[in-house]
Symmetry: C2
Subunit: 398 residues, 2 copies
């Protein structure tokens, strides 16, 4: 190992599937003095955080807090608390993260019945209905609201309705949707939901906001066995995050990361959730105009596209890795590779949170135009940037 020294990361534009660009306000918050996890000043911040998360999730759920670990741990928190060995779960899969749900189910000693849809398509509510009819003993339905691996959005409200008709609880993956596109936990009657901080909230990775309905909380209370994870056991965690002035030590919360999330949620509140959703939609339209002018095609049909995660097919004969490393090295621009079945076949261009802005759209379209034209896969003409600018101008005028 060469002599290590202080790490000075380069200044990138993060337009992959997350982490997204973190604003200076949030970075500044991270660097505030560390205080104790039981300090009354910190506990006051935790109370505010809960209110801010309830706003972001559009819920009044009492059981709303950030798990002290990344989104994958939030996913696991939902499954290990709601499942017991022998349970049966319907898992709808239309990308990588449905597969991860299956892993979680099986590691709880439960059975996963898979409902498959093509990658890039939304989850089909009719297929879910059929699976529930065939499996009347299923207790739970799990699906991904916004598939980060494809950029497809599923109709969470309808899927939850179907699940509830068959008396199943629901677990919803909202890692990529929270803060970026419409999500209404109470109105849609979602029972358990988890997200991440490094997507449309634009806080650093490391925390996973979760929320549980009354009905889910009741199911947890009535468990016959202990939760298999001590760290993620909600009956213990809530001694710390639950209401009331008396906070019991469970584990040491990631203090400074929580400062960052608090600031990021505050920024979202200041902008307003609906305004944030509109901004993501506008930026997506501008990026789309640019990418389509470059001849790049979207993986997901228009009706189901997530504005914050744009998966496009890599043109024939173009070297995936070379393009991405040129963008990173020559433009300090990170876009995402394909994941799972789509590895090598698509690029995933994120427009998430703080990174979802006009400057990034123009910069990315121009960089792709330059790099692809050098490889003979586009004609550098400025037309793509103009197309994006036109959309931006029209939305500004609107």
């Amino acid at each position: 190992m060469s002599q290590p020294k202080s790490f000075q990361p380069p200044q990138r534009r993060l337009m992959g599937p997350g982490p997204s660009d973190v604003s200076q306000r949030v970075l500044d918050a991270l660097a505030r003095p560390t205080i104790g996890h039981l300090d009354p000043a910190f506990v006051g911040m935790m109370d505010e955080m809960k209110g801010l998360l309830q706003y972001a999730f559009q819920t009044n759920n009492e059981l709303t807090f950030p798990v002290s670990a990344p989104g994958s741990a939030g996913m696991e928190a939902c499954f290990v608390n709601l499942l017991e060995a022998g349970d049966k779960v319907i898992v709808c899969q239309n990308g990588v993260f449905g597969g991860r749900m299956k892993e979680n189910v099986e590691r709880c000693g439960a059975t996963a019945v898979m409902v498959q849809d093509d990658w890039g398509q939304p989850v089909d509510p009719d297929k879910l209905e059929d699976a529930l009819k065939t499996n009347p003993d299923a207790r739970l339905v799990a699906f991904v609201h916004a598939e980060t691996s494809t950029g497809a959005q599923s109709d969470a409200r309808t899927l939850v309705e179907v699940a509830h008709r068959h008396d199943c609880l629901t677990i919803v993956d909202a890692v990529t949707s929270l803060g970026g596109s419409p999500l209404k936990v109470d109105e849609w009657n979602i029972d358990a939901i988890y997200s991440g901080t490094q997507k449309c909230l634009s806080a650093p990775p490391g925390l996973s906001p979760v929320s549980f309905s009354e009905r889910a909380a009741e199911a947890i209370k009535n468990r016959k066995t202990k939760v298999q994870s001590w760290f993620l056991d909600l009956s213990l965690v809530m001694g710390y995050w639950g209401a009331g002035a008396r906070r019991a030590y469970h584990h040491t919360a990631p203090i400074n990361n929580l400062y960052g999330l608090h600031e990021a949620l505050l920024i979202l509140k200041e902008e307003g959730l609906e305004n944030a959703w509109s901004r993501h939609a506008h930026m997506h339209q501008a990026l789309r105009a640019g990418l389509e002018t470059l001849g790049l095609n979207f993986v997901v049909p228009e009706a189901y596209r997530l504005p914050q995660l744009n998966a496009v097919t890599i043109p024939e004969g173009i070297d995936d890795a070379q393009v991405r490393s040129t963008l990173l090295n020559d433009y300090n621009l990170e876009i995402g590779a394909g994941l799972g079945a789509l590895a090598g076949k698509v690029w995933r261009i994120g427009l998430m949170g703080h990174a979802s802005n006009a400057d990034n759209v123009i910069y990315c379209v121009n960089a792709l135009d330059e790099v692809l034209s050098k490889m003979g896969a586009a004609v550098k003409s400025g037309a793509a940037v103009d197309a994006a600018k036109q959309v931006l101008a029209s939305s500004a005028a609107a």
Copy 2:
């Protein structure tokens, strides 16, 4: 909820059981621009981090990295990867954290045979030996090297020797010892070890450094069943943290927290591990002189005291909570309450990492002298501060 605004934490002195004071260098590192978890620049930092952690642990173990969550998750990572349902484990308990180990064992479907020692005493190797003789089918021995709830240090080297004589693997809790007092993973033949960042490393909480020996890695490879936690499954995590340029996505690493840990480990390397251990020992002696002059008695016999965690008995008739809140509100000084069986009976005064310095020793002794004398439990005379200063002067001269 009142209108939330940016959170401005007070500037405390953190002299509890952790988190400890975080230096400005580490805080500055946290605030550097977020980059991607697969960015080659970040991967280079990860390689350095591994070397720095190997130095801190005094090990060449390949399997050495920070779990992306607090120490409790590091503990769980050790147990879920090394245990399978039906296994038998000897757990030595002499404080709160041995009890948490038992919870972990049982939630893996394994059996915990408890070896109890009094709180404040070290783990007795003879009792462990007896338990191993009575339970020849035990596969694993787990114990806490440095009990954060009492400040007692156990003889890890001997305990591991005993365990190995009976062909058991070992899991060692080094949350409070790493960086603060002698710990030699390779020399002591420890098989699996976990720690935290917010104690003697003085990085913010949220990460858990772990290390696994070849023997432990082999045991994990030979498992018959999948690890019950997807998030903590080492066979998957090592696709990301393992050697080699090709890092596979598992979960999104807590980027900025890792910047902080990297800087904290660098500071430790610059000081030198042995120097850090000596500093902790010196500061402890000075604090001890001050506290004893105030009439405060240590919970742990001298031979087993951890320099970084000083548990003293609360004088008869003194209101625990009132003293701690006065110190916090009037002095911005955090000391720790008792935990578990010692709640309300002891204070835990930390001298950990960056917080283990002469200024803090003097400040704490003086503050306690003032607060206790107002309550009639000491006579404010300056003698306690003088006693501490005398030790500091002698060690400076040495």
